[in-house]
Amino acid sequence: MNGSKVIISVLGKDRVGIIAAISGVLATHGGNILDISQTILEDYFTMIMMVDLSACDLAFPELKETLVTTGEGIGMQVNIQHTDTFDYMHRI
């Protein structure tokens, strides 16, 4: 369960300050955002961030908890998954 690259997804109703809130947490703890995209998925605003955590000062569970709490503060559901999840599901 190694690897430092993760995908952070943020789902909810679109509003001001979503990217600022999530990227603020990442900046504070040394997460490097490599790419961001946004779309609408079944009526939900969905933001996907690709992040490198090799310089992150929090362990994965703590970072996850911080992001989830931050997300709840702005009414968004935040999920963080290692990229293996996506590679493995779609490729042999």
Binding site: M1, K5, I7, S9, L11, L34, D35, S37, T39, L41, E42, T46, I48, M50, D52, F60, P61, K64, Q77, N79, I80, Q81, H82, T83, D84, T85, F86, D87, Y88, M89, H90, R91, I92
Partner: protein, 456 residues
């Protein structure tokens, strides 16, 4: 989106499956051999059982939770299966095997798992002393424990059907219902009678650690009816060949998650990876229903004409997609149709559209069998035995696993509901035929193994 090989669309698809369609890994089940735990003194034997389970499974829940976090995929259950207890307890000089069930229960509680399977006997050809004692202890074992699941294999395509065991299981199911009468006979929800039982199934209540298995093993049960249903709903105009392909592709993706979780758990726990069980296992949660898939394929209600054909297509497509995605497939692998655990099945049964006989027909084309069906409390042991015999015959002739998990709810009858709560759900008491099968089941003996050719 460069550092992963998948496209943005594929990332979104995964997120949608997990966040909106209830995709989860249903269970990581650690199989543990208890063959070295036997002892003439039952107290010593029980202590060995407890010690071995708690030692082997010490980190199971912790590792499971870490994997959940890491991949962002819920793993609903972490569970344990053990060597059929009849074989372990047989060396002990005691008639009562209930203490062995208590040792299993306490060990499961100590390591934090919600179910432990393996209070089991394999008697398709006949019973040993240990088998007989274990079966006699089942009602008390289920009444006195919370987490222990029990199973008895009474038939196989190679051995035929042990009708003496079938009749006895009719009586044992009645006794288990009576022993847990004040809890709506919940003991029967943890007791399965099998034909051709798989020895590596990770799903409860029929899970145990087979005799050909290694010292310990990790088996994974995947699920995802909601994901399959949504894939079907999006293709209202597809013909059935195309639809089968859609289901295959979806099953492939779900199974890949199981493979990833299983391999990771196996490495983290230092225990070999056994198999993935590709089952579509419903839960009472809205949208997590196999019945909803059948209705999305085009039936007004599950249970009407066409249900068996739709289920056959679904079951086969799930297997084909899953087998491509995994290095080792095993267990039950197919669509489950437990009535009380599937909101759509409950609805159809309550409306009288999904009948007992239709369920029996459905079991000839899907995995497992008559599962989590509540029947009147006054049903006789002989009638239950006849239900078991029918289901065993379907498995024996078709060379597949079949099972019976019926609950004759003490004190309740047709028109009433039983509420088990949680994953076991709720069910209407279903009517049965009232004519007697007594003479047939009391003949006893064995139904011979069938021909394996001239399959017409």
């Amino acid at each position: 989106m460069h550092f992963t090989s998948v496209s943005r669309q594929e990332i979104l698809e995964t997120i949608q499956m997990v966040q909106m369609e209830n995709l989860d890994i249903r269970t990581i089940t650690m199989g543990i051999s208890l063959r070295d735990c036997g002892h003439p003194d039952p107290v010593t034997a029980c202590r060995r059982v407890y010690d071995k389970i708690t030692r082997q499974a010490e980190n199971l829940v912790k590792v499971g939770e870490e994997i959940e976090d890491h991949f962002g995929i819920p793993i609903v259950h972490k569970r344990i299966s053990v060597t059929p207890m009849a074989m372990v307890a047989e060396a002990s000089e005691t008639e009562d095997y209930t203490p062995f069930a208590r040792a299993m229960d306490e060990a499961a509680a100590a390591v934090g798992v919600n179910f432990i399977g393996g209070f089991t006997a394999l008697v398709q050809k006949g019973m040993t002393v240990g088998d007989r004692r274990l079966i006699a202890s089942i009602p008390a074992a289920l009444a006195e424990t919370e987490r222990v699941c029990s199973s008895v294999n009474v038939a196989s395509s190679k051995a035929g059907i042990n009708m003496d065991a079938v009749l006895q299981m009719g009586h044992i199911i009645k006794a288990a219902a009576e022993a847990t009468r004040e809890r709506d006979s919940i003991g029967c929800a943890k007791l399965v009678v099998f034909c051709n039982v798989p020895e590596d199934n990770p799903f409860m209540a029929g899970s145990f650690h087979g005799v050909g298995e290694p010292e310990a093993v990790i088996n994974v049960g995947i699920s995802g009816p909601g994901v399959v249903r949504n894939a079907v709903v999006k293709r209202p105009d597809a013909d059935l060949g195309e639809l089968a392909n859609v289901i295959k592709r979806t099953a492939f993706k779900i199974t890949r998650m199981g493979e990833l979780v299983g391999k990771t758990a196996s490495e983290a726990l230092g225990v070999p990876f056994g198999i993935i069980d590709l089952s579509l296992a419903p839960t009472p949660a809205v949208g997590d229903s196999v019945s909803d898939i059948l209705e999305a394929i085009g039936l007004e209600s599950t249970g009407t004409h066409g249900t068996t054909a739709a289920l056959a297509m679904l079951n086969d497509a799930v297997k084909k997609g899953g087998i491509m995605a995994s290095s080792h497939v095993g267990g039950l692998s197919g669509a489950f149709i437990p009535v009380s655990e599937d909101a759509g099945m409950i609805r159809a049964a309550e409306a009288g559209i999904l009948t007992f006989d239709k369920l029996e027909a459905m079991t000839s084309v899907c995995s497992v069998g008559l599962d989590m069906i509540a029947i009147p409390g006054e049903t006789s042991a002989e009638t239950i035995a006849a239900i078991i015999a029918d289901e065993m015959a379907i498995g024996m002739i078709n060379r597949k696993t079949t099972a019976v998990r019926v609950i004759p709810v003490a004190g309740k009858t047709v028109g009433e509901f039983v509420e088990f709560g949680g994953l076991l759900g709720r069910a209407p008491i279903m009517p049965l035929h009232t004519q007697s099968s007594d003479v047939f089941v009391k003949r006893g003996g064995r139904i011979p193994a069938p021909l394996q050719s001239f399959n017409n």
